[in-house]
């Protein structure tokens, strides 16, 4: 009798373990880079997404169903990206998560779009990562690069009394140009603020001595320098600016967040970065610090930059939309996502509309690095959202 009961239990357990895994699960497909250079960007955000998925599963799942994850490696290659997208769609993915960058994520996102599935870019910050460049079922979990430039300009104007600005653009990527586009949009809206000069360089320029000479030749030092660049060239540019004795505040995009490179520019001061959440343990929201601890527990290290956070936000808002729609069916989920207006998340409010599946306005924490020590000093939300027409230029 006892044996029979044990056997029955075993059968039941086996049925529970296998059957739902095949039929009833909600499937999230990651068509992201597990090798190649994009892995450095995709892996941290994907880990954060996994944390949210784990939380949801532990709390009883989504619509009473467990979330199951399938993955396919894009190998940081566009053609492989399309194949990875097809692989996860064929594996039954209800949500297709694609690479951080628009160029590398779009092939898989286009696959999801033509299969009528929702796709989300892990942390792309171009307006194309969404309706404009993929289609009506595509979203990005991060904030537009332009918002970062606009945030820094407006914050410096109001909180630091900056009136004269200098703009230094690294023309290497769309992301860099995006930051400066937002800055350019904001500047005329700030009464009395003037651009006293602007210059460009390219990320891998060995020296920006010529640009520095022109900054030093200005009749007056600028109140702030808007530096639109990203790693790896950013470190060299910042070091050269400071070594040349230029002490003006430097405003940046989120791409230079992180303390891993600060030892290269000892005692860096007067340096400002907008972030969605703080990796330095001083976020005004204690839940962010708790998340950082969870992340360390899962991956063995603290988040290295703020680009970990969009992965968590992504699963969070998508799961809420699924819960509200009562289905994973793409059109219904998209409709629910598009109803979100300042939806609170751990890393600031999120808004999606039928015109824009991206954030053209967002709360940013301002991190100041002083004597080589970064810490959160303020938070800022731009006074008006950047219109789509200005973003599409």
């Amino acid at each position: 009798m006892r044996q029979i009961r044990t056997f029955g239990l075993a059968v039941a357990a086996a049925a529970l373990a296998t059957a739902p895994a095949l039929a009833d699960d909600i499937v999230v497909g990651f068509a992201t880079a597990a090798s190649g250079f994009m892995e450095a960007y995709d892996k941290p955000a994907q880990d954060a997404a996994m944390i949210r998925i784990q939380e949801i599963n532990e709390a009883g799942g989504l619509l009473g169903r467990q979330i199951r994850v399938v993955t396919a490696d894009t190998k940081s290659d566009r053609a492989e990206g399309a194949r990875a997208g097809l692989t996860v769609v064929d594996a039954g993915a209800d949500l297709v998560v694609v690479s951080c960058d628009y160029d590398f994520g779009s092939p898989a996102a286009l696959v999801a779009e033509s299969a009528g599935k929702v796709s989300i870019f892990l942390c792309a910050e171009s307006i194309k990562a969404g309706i404009q460049g993929v289609g009506p079922h595509s979203f990005s979990a991060s904030v537009l690069a332009a918002v970062q430039g606009a945030t820094m300009a407006e914050w410096a104007y109001h909180k630091r009394g900056a009136r004269t600005f200098y703009r230094l653009l690294d023309t290497w990527t769309e992301y860099n140009k995006g930051i400066c586009d937002g800055f350019d949009w904001m500047l005329p809206r700030l009464e009395g603020a003037t651009l006293i000069g602007s210059d460009t360089f390219v990320n891998d320029d060995v020296s920006i001595a010529a640009q520095i000479t022109r900054i030093k030749a200005l009749p007056q030092a600028p109140d702030a320098i808007m530096l639109c660049t990203m790693m790896p060239g950013a470190v060299s540019a910042i070091k050269q600016l400071r070594d040349a004795g230029i002490t003006a505040p430097i405003l940046n995009g989120s791409g230079v967040d992180g303390s891993y490179w600060l030892s290269a520019v000892p005692d860096l001061s007067n340096f400002f970065v907008p972030v969605q959440g703080s990796i330095y343990g001083d976020d005004p929201n204690p839940e962010v610090t708790a998340f950082n601890a969870k992340y360390r527990e899962m991956t063995g290290s603290d988040p290295s930059t703020q680009y970990v956070y969009p992965g968590y936000v992504m699963i969070d808002v998508w799961a809420r939309a699924v819960e509200r729609a009562g289905t994973t069916e793409a059109a219904a989920v998209v409709a629910e996502l598009e109803k979100m207006r300042d939806e609170p998340t751990l890393f600031g409010p999120r808004t999606f509309t039928s015109e824009l599946h991206h954030q053209n306005r967002a709360r940013y924490l301002i991190v100041e690095t002083d004597q080589g020590q970064p810490r959160v000093i303020d938070e800022w939300t731009i006074s008006e959202p950047i219109p789509v027409s200005a973003l599409l230029r």
């Binding site: 566009r78 399309a82 194949r83 064929d90 286009l110 033509s114 194309k128 993929v134």
Partner: protein, 362 residues
């Protein structure tokens, strides 16, 4: 003097066998029903087109070209211009002429036009480049590739500069690619046995004697350059439709070296070598990638570390070239087994262009 009919009859087996191979692969793919595998095979067929395109010029002229991926880029962007929705073109590529913005053609009309666009540029570049020979010609073709890449990476109003161009209709059906690949093979074969092709091969093997016999080498090279520009341009157009996204950096060094190594491993002066090089190397890549993901072999998981695929591929390629310095096929073509035996018997009295050693890789 050979009669044309007999050349056709003696060589027709090669394109037939190669097309049959492609068809067999296609039928197997459709039968397997797997969409990711379908996409893999589309990729393989695109490479067949690219490498066959390279063969038309490199194989017949003996001049190594690093520039043909530039024509692929021209073809891909031309296909994008012709097939994208006018609204998206107006927004992303406002520098295009109005009539082009308003144009929206089906892909199968646009692809040959795009290929012709690439061929026109091949002709323009070729007028200058084909006067050079040896390493000077190779470097000049490389310079052309760099030039095309730089223009396409910076002309933002017409090519979108380094940003991806999206909105290109995606074609995931296998058959258009199969037809195009077979078309390319037939073109390559037809060119090789044409008057121009035979003259060019003669010039490749014995330039002095060829010139003394009245062969205008730059002219014959130009013909091959334009034909191969058309084929690589067509590959580019279909590449754009296979992904739906194009960026200039896709069509640069990585693709150039991938295509060239497939041609060299297969056998630079053989059409069969070009096709087999692609098939064999693609198969190896897929096997190694499968191993990277891990294969279950009767309870034992067989898995190689990520990134080993590239290393293993390099080692295999070195091994192939060590044992067969002129590639897997050397300068032979695939023919019916019986014909080969008969040809071998005939070889002693009559020397044939196909069995002549080439000066390329001596």
């Amino acid at each position: 003097m050979l009669r044309r009919g007999s050349v056709v009859r003696r060589t027709i087996a090669t394109p037939i066998i190669l097309s049959a191979l492609i068809l067999a692969l296609a039928i197997f793919t459709v039968w397997s029903g797997s969409r990711p595998f379908n996409q893999t095979v589309i990729d393989v067929l695109l490479r067949v087109m690219l490498v066959v395109g390279l063969y038309i010029f490199i194989g017949n002229s003996g001049v190594l070209s690093f520039g043909h991926i530039g024509f692929t880029c021209l073809g891909a962007y031309a296909a994008a211009w012709l097939t994208m929705p006018p609204m998206m073109k107006g927004m992303m590529l406002p520098g295009l002429p109005g009539w082009l913005i308003a144009t929206k053609l089906p892909y199968w009309v646009a692809a040959p036009i795009a290929a012709t666009f690439a061929a026109v540029f091949a002709w323009l570049f070729g007028l200058v480049l084909m006067r050079l020979s040896g390493i000077a010609a190779s470097i000049a073709t490389f310079a052309m590739l760099a030039m095309i890449n730089k223009i396409y990476s910076n002309w933002s109003s017409v090519t979108g500069a380094t940003s991806s161009v999206v909105g290109i209709p995606i074609v995931r059906d296998l058959w258009p690619y199969v037809i195009a690949a077979i078309l390319c093979i037939v073109i390559a074969w037809a060119h090789a046995i044409s008057r121009a092709g035979l003259k060019l091969r003669a010039a490749r093997d014995e330039p002095v004697a060829a010139q003394a016999s009245g062969i205008d080498i730059p002219r014959e090279r130009l013909v091959a350059f334009v034909v191969s520009g058309w084929v690589t341009g067509l590959a580019g157009a279909l590449f754009a439709h296979s992904l739906g996204v194009v960026t200039p950096d896709t069509f640069y060094l990585a693709m150039t070296f991938m295509a060239l190594s497939m041609l060299v491993v297969g056998g630079m002066s053989s059409l069969s070598g070009a096709v087999l090089g692609v098939l064999v190397l693609s198969l190896l890549i897929q096997l190694l990638r499968g191993l990277e993901r891990g294969v279950d072999m009767g309870g034992v998981a067989l898995k190689i570390p990520n990134g080993l695929q590239e290393i293993a591929l390099g080692v295999i390629m070195i091994a192939i070239l060590m044992f067969r310095p002129s590639g897997m096929m050397g300068n032979r073509e695939l023919v019916w087994p019986r014909a080969r035996r008969r040809r071998a018997a005939d070889a002693a009295p009559r020397s044939s262009t196909n069995t002549q050693p080439t000066g390329v890789h001596r």
